[in-house]
């Protein structure tokens, strides 16, 4: 297990050493989203009865920051290691692909958690945030960041250049998060878009996470949980298979 813990520790240090960029910056941008949207929409939009728009928006923004940073962590770490070539030090070691997967995944979770916690702490100074079911909150944070961490590993391994990774981020991750119901309830959408939302894994993460705060959600939390677990298992299996075969890493 020493190998696994070492790689995990290295991955933690990697983002911690540049925490200004990896933790503080996303916290600031999330706060900007919150202040602007709540200022504009607070008096005009009410998604669920008895809940202000800010209260609706805050969980969505927190989980969006967590997901984006979990993805950014594993994907950018891997592509940097691949491009600079220092991934060779891990490849030369007896570390198994399971350990490799676990270390990158957990480091992604850790960064997601830190960003999420940071956003939560700052926002709670300004807004009253209800936390109805903390267990569900933690469950969806963990599963969501694990799913995005695994997706980040796939993106980092598949990309050969930074702009390929940027494409992955801008054309897949960003639209999927923005269209996952962070800013709205899917019931406000037309039936077609509503149906499309149901195949978006991020929708279930956001909806389940929000349930933990508000006790209200678009779909039942158990359904979201099942969907997220299913997505996570599928993506993990795919990732592990890629790593085992050495896809794009061992030629």
């Amino acid at each position: 297990m020493t190998g696994f813990f070492t790689l995990f520790h290295k991955e933690l240090l990697r983002f911690w050493k540049v925490s200004f960029q990896t933790i503080l910056a996303p916290i600031v941008s999330t706060l900007l989203y919150l202040f602007i949207f709540s200022h504009l929409l607070e008096s005009r939009v009410q998604v669920y009865p008895g809940i202000t728009y800010s209260q609706f928006l805050i969980p969505g923004l927190i989980i969006m920051a967590i997901l984006q940073n979990a993805f950014a962590n594993s994907s950018s770490s891997l592509i940097q290691s691949k491009i600079s070539g220092n991934i060779i030090f891990v490849l030369l070691s007896p570390l198994s692909y399971f350990e490799f997967f676990g270390a990158y995944l957990l480091a992604s979770v850790a960064r997601g958690l830190l960003v999420g916690l940071g956003v939560f702490i700052v926002i709670s100074q300004f807004y009253e945030i209800p936390t109805q079911f903390p267990f569900w909150i933690i469950l969806f944070v963990l599963l969501g960041s694990m799913l995005l961490g695994a997706l980040g590993i796939i993106a980092g391994i598949c990309s050969d250049k930074f702009d390929q990774l940027a494409a992955f981020q801008n054309f897949i991750i960003l639209p999927f998060t923005f269209l996952s119901g962070v800013f709205y309830s899917v019931f406000s959408l037309s039936p077609v878009w509503q149906k499309l939302s149901y195949i978006n894994p991020f929708f279930y993460i956001v909806d389940g996470f929000r349930y933990g705060f508000l006790g209200i959600s678009d779909v039942p939390p158990h359904l979201s949980l099942t969907a997220v677990i299913a997505f996570f298992l599928t993506i993990s299996l795919l990732t592990l298979n890629m790593l085992r075969a050495g896809y794009k890493v061992r030629y």
């Binding site: 020493t2 990697r14 050493k17 540049v18 600079s84 220092n86 030090f89 007896p94 570390l95």
Partner: protein, 305 residues
Amino acid sequence: MIPAIEIQRLNKSFGNLVALEDIQLSINQGEFFALLGPNGAGKTTLISIIAGLVLANNGGQVKVMGHDVVTRYSRARSLLGVVPQELVFDPFFTVHETLVFQSGYFGIRRNKAWIDEILYRLDLADKADTNMRALSGGMKRRVLVAQALVHRPPVIVLDEPTAGVDVELRQALWAFIRQLNQDGHTIVLTTHYLEEAEALCQRVAMLKKGKIIVLDSIRNLINKIRDISLQLCLACEVLPIELIKWSSIKQNDCYIFKIQDYVEISEILTILKQEKIEVLEMRLQEPDLEEVFIRIMGDKSFSAT
């Protein structure tokens, strides 16, 4: 005794390009072995397959200390230390952190004493807390060597470790590696400096277009080329008739005789003595590995098709 590295029926192709063809090679424990060949001959690919960085075509087998590099990769890799050719490093960390992490990847938690010793022996002790980015190329190269040694591997593979390294460091590096070899480590290296291979190694394999075309001890290889050049500067206008049987080239006042055996030197000198010709200067040029290398690489009969 189990060979340090054993390669059987190894083939590797990248698409249509055949990088390695039917490689058979066994390197004994404790050996100091050189892989030579021009750029693109397949040396790095071969090393990468031994290290598990590149996967060979089906059918072949590569073992490190008896452990298959694919099916028992964990054992095989923990017995192998590799110094890569490229100057790669992780810009986030210091020299010391780099070595602590590398030890950890190999499952070694407390490695301070050994890390300190490697740092000292590679003259890196005062750079331990310097960020990798701030090191010169030579220093980075030393860190690569240090990284390959953190887990005390019995087999050490160095891919052009002295490329772009100044003379002083090269000497120090070789002294260190020779010491490792004397301590029982098996050393495999690739280099473009043939005098290095000649000075250090016992056996060489020469690769050309993905095939091993020569596998022999350096002594045998050099002995095969029995062309010795004897350069004599003589106090005479014309060569004595007895010396004509040796082909010679005249350069200014000196003659270069091609001889096959050292006995011929005394024959030539005896004739000169009889003719009372004074020898002003004498130089002997023996074939070296470079000569062997150039001949073999230039020889069409060795070409791999």
